[in-house]
């Protein structure tokens, strides 16, 4: 019963809350920029509106274009179920390996990039090209940042790993902090945030993610937007629960889980705030400066692993 | 008796050819003589494989001689057959007339006789005379086309080999002197000379062997005495080139080997082996590099002959398994090199040039020759399933324990030769010719000999017939 409940949370929490996370970030950003900003719940309304609309699909597009939104959404949900959200006690030996999560998301990126090319427009292709550049280079930093944790926790199972990090002595936390910096850069890159991409732009020259989905409309656009929101919350959850695993439930007791859920929301809010703060204070980078940043993230993780000794 | 037939047949054929008035009888005579020689050699071979020795009196064969004789007879027969087709084409093209054809056949018979006699004779001096006679009979064959370059090649051949052989003669005399200082030495056979080797003066034998090696080494084509070889091979008519490479070089090497046996008996094997290893390695190294930048395919094959003589010499230098492999290699090389020279002859007839960059697309222009050339290349560079691969590995194996450095160097030189060779063969066989010639082979008689030799080469590369293995084992036993 409890297990079922936790599994339900695992599967539904991310899609349910992800529009909120995006909305909150936008709201915080607006506040930081002395704007009123839309309600944090605005993304829900957007999705609902899109789902109600008719759809236009390019004649040049193939089934790849049609399938991608579904696949993308599925993958983000499946990946969300594979990471510890509220309890470390819920072992997931089937898909809970961090490489699985990383590569599930990569599969989504792969199809999204194909969909960008599929319509034969000039923008989509360039968006795909840039997306693959960022994704390919971000993967190294991401894997190494998580490997740092895996080496400390002596497992690559994310659930066990969260528990393992939580029980580390404070003196051993230096590598975790370094790895987190590396992870955070990867987070920004993977979720299309400043300084990599501008989630709000529709200027052709600066688009990455938006360029790829230019041809989507209606329900498929809704799914894509939702998926990217999922991905954002997913990374936020990874950062919150793996690098700062305190507050996660150690068992499946209801009270603990409720507490853990609250703590998780708090941590996620802090991370969203960090992203919003960052987006308000720095400018977007030129595309060829991005690799430097990504390699820096990679090297930070290497240093972190070196510190483990 | 068979040996007498063997040596007299070409002589009679030469004399008979002198009397001929038409091309056809000359051709028939050449083929008949070749077949007769084959038969006689076969008779000798049967006895040698059974008893290890054949003949008596002035002419005799042991298994070592039998190995060389095999190459001479095989290549000789194939070359005789090929000559018929080759000369017909040249006559048809108006390059030569009847007088020259006749001259060719007479000299061919004399050349064969000299080699056959040289292999069979029991007397070192007679062998020397025979080898010298090969020089004399082939000089005009090399200058056959009467062009300045052919003259140049023939003159160099004549002079350098005469000098070399005189030094070899001197070495022979020194051996006699070492055997019986101050005494009368009338009609000394190899056996008699070898029998007393134990009592020879050691330092004298060393000097003598040095002269032998330089002298006969000139004729064998060992570097740095090889200089005549590429010139002569490239300028002679192709069947003669095949005979020079496939038969004559072996005969000269046989002389060195026979003296090596005697020197070993007097000195122990180390002295001769070290010299042979030295000359062998140098003879692989220099051609290896020259092959890489060669522009003329007949010269390419000629340098390859130098290199293979180097490999064989190296094998004898290593001894043991090396000697066995070197003898086997000698047979394989003779067959493969003849195949290549025959193909070269066909290319020359077709394209009218021995420059590699004038020949291209041989696979299209000469459907059979192109393939033969390609396969012959694979054979000569030691690619399985051809036997030269195994013999080369054997030779290296024989030396790995005592001379690892030499083996390593030789191994990479062989790889270099392959690299050099492949570029040119690929250009000839696949590339495009500047002026594409008419498609099609010219004469079945220019096709059959190389194909037959190739088939034989492939066969004995996969399956070594027991008699052949027996001679070679026995011959390797003689050489140790």
């Amino acid at each position: 019963m409890k297990t079922t409940l936790v599994w339900t949370i695992q599967f539904l929490l991310i899609p349910a809350l992800s529009p909120l996370a995006v909305g909150v970030t936008r709201k915080l950003k607006a506040l930081l920029q002395n704007r009123q900003g839309a309600s944090p719940f605005q993304p829900y309304r957007d999705l609902a509106k899109l789902l109600r609309k008719d759809e236009v699909i390019s004649r040049d597009a193939s089934w790849v274009f049609r399938v991608t939104p579904y696949l993308l959404f599925t993958l983000t949900v499946a990946a969300g179920a594979s990471i510890p959200l509220v309890s470390t006690a819920l072992g997931n030996p089937a898909t809970g390996d961090f490489l699985v999560v990383v590569y599930l998301l990569a599969l989504g990126t792969f199809f999204l990039a194909l969909a960008g090319i599929d319509t034969g427009g000039a923008f989509g292709g360039f968006g795909s090209s840039r997306e693959m550049l960022v994704a390919a280079l971000a993967e190294g930093g991401l894997i190494l940042a998580l490997l740092t944790l895996a080496l400390l926790g002596r497992t690559t199972d994310l659930f066990a790993l969260a528990g393992g990090i939580a029980s580390l002595p404070v003196t051993d936390l230096a590598p975790v902090i370094l790895a987190f910096v590396g992870f955070f850069v990867a987070l920004l890159a993977e979720t299309g945030r400043y300084p990599f991409d501008n989630p709000a732009t529709h200027l052709e020259l600066t688009m990455i993610h938006e360029a790829m989905i230019l041809e989507y409309s209606g329900k498929r656009l809704a799914l894509i937007e939702w998926s990217s929101a999922n991905k954002y919350l997913l990374f936020t959850a990874l950062g919150a629960n793996l690098f700062f695993p305190w507050g996660l439930a150690g068992s499946l007791a209801l009270g603990e889980i409720a507490l853990a859920l609250t703590v998780f929301l708090g941590k996620a809010l802090v991370l969203c705030a960090a992203v919003a703060l960052l987006e308000s204070t720095i400018a977007k980078f030129r595309i060829f400066r991005l690799p430097d940043l990504l390699f820096t993230s990679f090297i930070l993780s290497i240093i972190a692993i070196g510190l483990i000794g | 008796m068979a040996l007498l037939v063997l040596t007299l047949t070409p002589l009679i054929a030469a004399l008979a050819s002198l009397a001929m008035r038409a091309v056809r009888p000359l051709e028939v005579l050449a083929v008949l003589a070749a077949l007769l020689e084959c038969g006689a050699a076969a008779v000798a071979a049967v006895t040698v494989s059974a008893a290890g020795r054949y003949g008596s009196g002035a002419l005799a064969l042991d298994s070592l001689g039998m190995v060389v004789l095999t190459t001479v007879v095989l290549v000789g027969t194939a070359a005789s057959l090929y000559s018929v087709g080759y000369l017909r084409q040249e006559v048809a093209k108006g390059i030569i007339g009847f007088r020259r054809v006749k001259q060719y056949y007479v000299l061919l018979h004399l050349f064969l006789m000299a080699m056959l006699y040289g292999v069979c004779t029991v007397n070192p001096i007679m062998m020397w005379i025979a080898v010298e006679a090969t020089t004399l009979s082939t000089a005009f064959l090399i200058s056959f086309y009467n062009k300045p370059t052919a003259m140049e090649a023939a003159w160099k051949y004549l002079i350098i080999n005469s000098i070399g052989l005189l030094l070899g003669f001197f070495g022979t005399l020194l051996f006699f002197a070492a055997g019986s200082p101050g005494a009368q030495s009338a009609f000394v056979t190899w056996e008699a000379l070898g029998g007393g080797a134990g009592a020879f003066n050691a330092t004298l034998v060393k000097i003598a062997f040095l002269f032998i090696l330089i002298g006969y080494g000139t004729k064998t084509g060992l570097v740095p005495m090889h200089t005549w070889l590429p010139d002569a091979h490239s300028k002679a008519p192709s069947p003669i080139s095949a005979l020079l490479s496939g038969a004559l070089l072996n005969c000269a090497l046989l002389a060195i080997l026979k003296f090596k046996v005697i020197a070993d008996a007097a000195l122990g094997p180390a002295f001769a082996q070290n010299l042979l290893i030295f000359f062998g390695l140098v003879s692989i190294a220099i051609p290896a590099f020259i092959i890489v930048i060669q522009k003329n395919y007949k010269r390419l094959f000629a340098y390859s002959s130098v290199e293979h003589m180097g490999i064989i010499t190296l094998g004898f230098g290593f001894g043991g398994l090396g000697s066995f492999a070197a003898l086997l290699h000698m047979i394989y090389h003779s067959l493969a090199k003849s195949v290549l020279f025959f193909s070269a002859g066909n290319c020359l007839l077709k394209y009218g040039s021995t420059k590699i960059d004038r020949v291209g697309g041989a696979l299209d222009a000469l459907p059979v020759t192109g393939k033969v050339l390609l396969v012959g290349f694979l054979a000569i560079t030691g690619v399985p399933p051809f036997g030269l691969f195994l013999t080369e590995v054997y030779i290296l194996t024989a030396g790995i324990a005592a001379h690892p450095l030499v083996v390593v160097v030789a191994l990479f030189l062989l790889a270099l030769i392959f690299v050099g060779f492949l570029r040119f063969i690929a250009a000839m066989v696949f590339g495009a010719a500047p002026e594409p010639p008419v498609r099609g082979e010219m004469n079945p008689l220019t096709i059959v000999p190389p194909v037959a030799l190739l088939a034989l080469l492939l066969t004995i590369g996969i399956y070594l017939p027991p008699p052949l293995e027996a001679w070679i084992t026995a011959a390797a036993e003689i050489l140790r």
């Binding site: 089937a94 898909t95 693959m132 971000a138 799914l223 | 040095l210 083996v407 690299v419």
Partner: protein, 683 residues
Amino acid sequence: MTALILSPAGFSAIIAAFTVGALGALLLGRHERAAGLWGNLWAAGGSLLGLLYSATALITGDVPAFGVATSFPLLSLSFRIDALSAFFLLVISLVALVSAVYALGYVRHYYGRYPLGSLGLFTNAFIAGMILVVTAHHALWFLIVWELMSLTSYFLVIYERREPENIQAGSLYFIMTHIGTAFIILAFLLMYGATGSFDFGAIGRGMAAASPLLRDGVFLFALIGFGAKAGIIPFHIWLPGAHPAAPSHVSALMSGVMIKTGIYMLVRVCTDFLPGPPPLWWGLTILGSGAVSSLLGVLYALSEHDLKRLLAYHSIENIGIILMGFGSALVFLSAGFTALALLGMIAALFHTLNHATFKALLFFGAGAVISQTHTRNIEEYGGLIRSMPQTALFFLAGSLAISALPPFNGFFSEWMTFQALFAGVGTFSLVTKAVFLLGVGSLAFTGGLAAACFVKAFGVTFLARPRSPEAGRATEAPLSLRLAMAALALATLLLGVIAGGVSRAVGAIVQALPAFQGGALQPASYTLLRVDTGFAAVSLPALTAVLVGVAAAVAGAVHLLTRGRRVTLGRTWDCGADLTGRMEITATAFSRSIVTVFRGVLKPTGQTEIDYHDARLRYFPKSGLVRLEFRDIWAQFFYQPLQKMTLGIAGQIKKIQVGNINVYIGYILVTLTFLLIMLAARP
């Protein structure tokens, strides 16, 4: 029954089938259809027998060994099919079988252009050569069949011999493989010098007591020799030219299995011929070269727009991944961690199997596309997913597999390789750890870059609009091609989903190797892939089930939510102008940003030529041309200098032949004098 299959007669039947196929095809040469049919059917039959044989050997665990004496000294045609041999025999037979099926239809486009007889001859001989290579148990015999394999593959590379670049590629291949063979011969000669035998068993027994220096030498020469065949950077230069030049079903064989014979022999050398714990630096060298090969291989692939060359570069990448697994296994062996060594080795062999399946699949797909469009230039494809939907689907499966995306098989062998490398990072310190980290980093970037590369390859080839008239006229590939591709596509998926079971089976094979005996095999089940000590685990069936379940739920929910909404077809947003095939992103443009990032390694030379309507008024360009070329740094800084040096030496040595007879005679006098003096000095 099994005894009959595993008997020498059973083995001879395999070889006999290929021989009959080869010779029959040659004899039927004039009848194209019959020759093609004959050659490929016998090849398929032989491969089936090979499958049967290897499967039987693996299941029963028997180690058949037999030999035939020859009339040549030291040479005996010995065979021994232990688990490792049987595994490679299985992989070879598998790929050979599907490629024979594929060829049934594929050879049709050679009718009237190139002889089918020789294609049948060389293909059959090539497959037989590979089978003999992995079963030979005697060094000389091995060298013969090794050269036979190289020779036949050379002829297959130059099969389309009227293209000059094929001849060039073939020559380079033959040269590199020959030089590699020289190193191999050297390694065997050294072992012969130490043990006095060419028999593999005797070598293994004798080399145990050999000096460390000799063992190191043998290792190094074997690494170079077999590395040249496997395509390890920097000995890879032949590979991107040779594999594309061959007919596609042969490319699949060469890339899918032939280069693996190099891996096979490296494993043999390091674990069988040189028994005992290997020195640490062996494993580190292999690991490091694997890391470099995989990363550079994928980068070169990205810069390629010849579809088959691109695939060939990916072979280098995957060989690198295999070597990382094998290298880590060696390092663990040298440290005595047999269980971890087992993990690395399983990863290596598993990836060998996986790469064989998806690389063959991709080459098949490329061949299907090329036979329709008659070009290998990826820029002239486009939109093929509509005219060749099935081919596109299969190619996509291969692309996902090679990009290591779950649930296809490439992911799981890379996952295991990652785990082996992680274990190394976690276990060792300093230098060793750094090399393992290099491996992790290389593998991580490789995965991402491979995905980028296949987004390009698949996207530019199959998606959007046709970029050339040929691409517009393409039709679906013939049945036999699609059958072969379907089988392999299914295999990539199946091997992924049952990866747990496969890894267990591979584990049993590795455990049968003497060096890995004693390592405990983790209790892997068919549903769960686990690393010993519980460090990591993943269940493929569960993952697949989750994906399918969620996808169904999402699709259902969306369908319910959006009932009644219309879907209309429209034009892609075209800014008011008509979109043509020329306005899509090109393969060059796609990879240009990544190429720019890695310009330090790739050394691109970009040229932009713009032609204006008016020389002074530079606002309206008439035409623009961007040319992106790459310099091969290995050729530029290693092979060309080497060649130049050799030619320089040759030029000097050629001067010996001055043409002057007096000088020639001088040589004789000098040699004579020199030797006489030597003799006098050292009597």
